[in-house]
Assembly symmetry: C2
Homo-oligomer: 555 residues x 2
């Protein structure tokens, strides 16, 4: 059956391989939540399936169940009340390791086929998954469907494609025949076995519980490892549904479902014991610098792939599309209330202002116009709520309040509380915009996660570029952008992006936003600055997750 799955999905696999080879546009999973694509009953069934989890024990038949726990607080203020099994981590590790031999025996094609069947099943459950993502993270519905379902699946498939490509380079066998002059050649038969490193742990985050989990999950699985998914305590349900689907597929192909398990730890100490366990050989993490750096420091037995925080920056030098630039920036800052690790925190503007197609604009004018553009983007309440979603964490609310207080800089636009008609208890906040001088580094030069943006006044464009490079080099960033009509400025920013090792978006004025990265084409993170030590997705993300064990004998 694994081979049958491989054949069933072969066309998709080859298309994915083409896509990672060309990095042109491609997607395997439709991003529109359309009944025409997903089936007329899919929206209703997905919602029903999601609702069926609420108020229940989520059954996973995992080993070592000690208790049940849950308590996710929805940013939309709805009651979830799902209870998940709390399992002894040693039981999960042991069961995962025991499952690895049969997983190894499937070989590259078998594992790839099974992973692709898993992704296809996840795709069929996209509505259910999207509701679970929306309700746990506070994302708006469209983002939850796109980033939480289709795009997450694309990122998972991307990792499978990379893993397949790297593994398929390793020949299974070789006949080695070394000439010996006049004597008969030395001949050896060699066999090369791909063996997973061990148990992988994937630590999810509260804002993107599938999009940031699937790359590590599928990279580790496809390369022969067992995987324990440790979701964020506020976003367990999307991970639990995912794990359950994967376990069903494994059972069907005769591999122990314990190859993939969910870990809902009783406390932080259990998480620490899990990730530092001698048998855990890789840890994928998305989240805070503090825990991420703790993982890098302490998980010495494992490869750690960490997506941390950064200070994403945009340098605004000039533009020939002022209104389009403002619209693009405003939408980007509003999207999911800036709760994306890719959202820009700093807009660096020369003190003398910028040149535009509407004439020169002073620094102050840019600030005011951007505030107005945000107001305009949020003018319709239902659109505002759909774009902003809800605030995932009380810590973010505290940061917004702090920014609103004016302590961090001059408040150009204060964050407001909005009412969501569909979810009256939803916690909705619009972006806050602060004006600061470049000298106020203590205010802006650390990540302030959420809808908090600083318009930084720099001496001039060169100073702005130098500041951007320094920020990325020292504090990290997942995104960098520039607006300029001057090729010399774009070239200087390009060099800065190479020096600081961050992806650069240039003059975005249309339907692509700096905080969006497209699977198969855009690298998410470079692995070259402090915001992330790995990238979605490249060879380095998969190549060290397996080892090749050879044997040789004379023939």
């Amino acid at each position: 059956m694994p081979q049958a799955f491989f054949e069933k999905h072969q066309t998709t696999l080859y298309a994915a391989l083409d896509a990672i080879g060309s990095r042109c546009y491609w997607s395997a999973y439709a991003e529109m939540p359309s009944p025409k694509i997903y089936g007329e009953t899919a929206p209703a069934t997905g919602k029903t399936d999601y609702e069926a989890h609420l108020g229940k024990h989520f059954d996973l038949t995992q080993p070592g169940i000690q208790a049940w726990a849950g308590g996710e607080q929805s940013p939309y203020g709805v009651a979830l009340d799902v209870q998940y099994p709390v399992c002894a981590i040693q039981a999960l590790i042991d069961a995962g390791q025991a499952a690895m031999a049969s997983w190894q025996a499937l070989g590259v094609n078998g594992r790839t086929g099974v992973c692709m069947e898993m992704l296809a099943r996840l795709n069929q459950r996209s509505f259910e998954l999207a509701h679970s993502v929306m309700m746990t993270t506070g994302q708006g519905w469209m983002m939850a469907f796109q980033a939480g379902a289709a795009h997450a699946q694309d990122r998972g498939l991307e990792a499978v494609a990379y893993a397949y490509r790297e593994q398929s380079f390793v020949p299974q066998d070789a006949m080695w025949e070394k000439p010996q002059g006049k004597n008969p050649p030395l001949r050896m038969q060699k066999h090369f076995e791909i063996v997973g490193r061990g148990v992988a742990v994937v630590v999810g985050c509260g804002t993107f519980p599938t999009w940031n989990t699937y790359p590590g999950l599928f990279a580790a699985l496809a390369t022969g490892n067992a995987v324990i998914v440790k979701p964020h305590e506020q976003a367990i349900l999307p991970a639990a549904i995912t794990v359950k689907i994967l376990r069903e597929v494994l059972s069907q192909v005769g591999v122990s479902p314990n190859l993939v398990s969910l870990c809902v730890p009783a406390n932080q100490e259990i998480t620490q014991a899990l990730v530092t366990h001698a048998d855990v050989k890789s840890v994928d993490f998305t989240g805070s610098n503090s825990f991420g750096n703790w993982l890098i420091d302490r998980c010495r037995q494992a490869q750690v792939y960490a997506e941390l925080a950064g200070v994403n920056t945009i340098v605004i030098d000039s533009t020939d599309s002022y209104q389009a630039m403002l619209r693009n920036l405003a939408f980007s800052l509003c999207l999911y209330s800036g709760q994306m690790c890719t959202t820009s925190q700093l807009l660096v503007v020369p003190a003398a202002g910028i040149g535009t197609d509407e004439g020169a604009k002073s620094y102050e004018q840019v600030c005011a116009d951007l505030a107005a553009a945000i107001d305009l983007a949020l003018a319709k309440p239902e659109v505002a709520c759909a774009v902003l979603g809800a605030i995932q964490s009380p810590a973010t609310i505290a940061r917004i309040d702090h920014a609103n207080s004016g302590e961090l800089g001059t408040v150009v636009r204060a964050s407001q509380t909005l009412h969501n008609a569909e979810f009256p208890a939803a916690v909705v906040r619009s972006p806050v915009l602060l004006a600061v001088d470049a000298s106020a580094e203590s205010a802006y030069m650390e990540e302030r996660f959420g809808p908090i943006t600083f318009v930084v006044k720099a001496a001039d464009t060169n100073a702005a570029i130098a500041l951007a490079e320094r920020i990325v080099h020292t504090h990290g960033a997942l995104t960098l952008a520039v607006y300029s009509t001057q090729s010399a400025v774009v070239d200087a920013m390009t060099q800065a992006s190479w020096n600081a090792k961050v992806a650069l978006s240039i003059n975005l004025t249309s339907g692509v936003f700096v905080n969006q990265s497209a699977a198969f084409s855009d690298y998410h993170g470079t692995g070259g600055n402090p915001a992330a030590n790995a990238s979605y997705c490249d060879s380095a993300f998969v190549a060290n997750r397996f080892r090749v064990i050879q044997r040789r004998y004379h023939v």
Copy 2:
């Protein structure tokens, strides 16, 4: 000119790519020091060129020269008396970083072409390099030429081929066009730039100063990094010649020669400052567990690729070629006096003895026969000296003396001092063979580098296999072997090799030895057990040495 070098060496590159794809036999550089291959004058010229270095200052025109140092002690007892520049490490790092921009600008093909030209020039200098390797390491001439020149060059080329393959997967450009239903598609031009991580440091070892240095050196170079070579204090000359050749090629193609430099540190503290420097992004190391683990612990700013020590083991269950097995084992143990990181330290034999084509052999008989086989292999003094070479380190002499004392086990065969007629001051020792019970773990279960071998008496074959797996899992190994006529035993050893992640050689009775690994076909190290966290060579060895920095804009 880089492009011309690429074209000049393209056929060789494609052959290398084929070889890493098939892992069948292939070699780019002739391993026989034959005038017919290398030219009639090559042997004499190489010797003269080598001798021309002796008693001189080795000029490298590097920046930041503070002093001159040297003092290599030849295991052959000859005076070398070469002085090398001691340069300020900050000067080397700064100059290396400054050289990286033009190196990056050459692109993948340009860098690959230049690296291959470097290797071709090294190959032309094989006799000179082999003499320098022989005299600094104590290797016999043939090994010095093969492992020190041709095979090291093959391993360097292998790394270049892997680096080329991974980098050439990254498209330079992509036109990304996303359909938007009835609206015009979103179109973006994207560019993907390969950028080196930073300065790489390659720390060499005293026994294989080129073979263990070239993989990391060329992997780092080919992927866009500057490289500082920090040789072992007793084997500087081969590294210095190598660096000089590479710098000449760089000058010729208009890249600053400071992209590659030699670091002869004044003391250990300087080495530590170098490898922990914030701008050093990778460290390749071959050597002791103590310094290797220090590097892994302390070089948190860098990727560390470490080849450490292990306890290589052979399980002897049965054989249908007893004499051939003994000959193979004896030669393997004698070769370079066991001073290879791949030499077997333990031969595990069941207490009840083994079955052979000459009938059953008791444990004691196996010990005695192996001792006799070693005697036979060393019967002719000139052959003995050619095979044994000389002892590289006084610490190895101390370990031999300790083993000879009988403290570690029953001395089956004592190490003897031999006289080398050509080099009367050479330090030559034959192997010592000890018999121990499996319970004497404190004697044999740590690396005792040098010609020291334990014949370990295990309860039975199953116990022997279990012991071997445990040793590799806990102490690491680069090689594992088994002799058995029973497929069940071979299968069990295969499973043990997968569990412990070590390469397995089966029934070697011919002209391949367990301590030899062939470039392009045999992985050296798996990266999966404590003896090494990386392998020569695989995708993981190169994929994380560069980052891809993209930029995108609408068209």
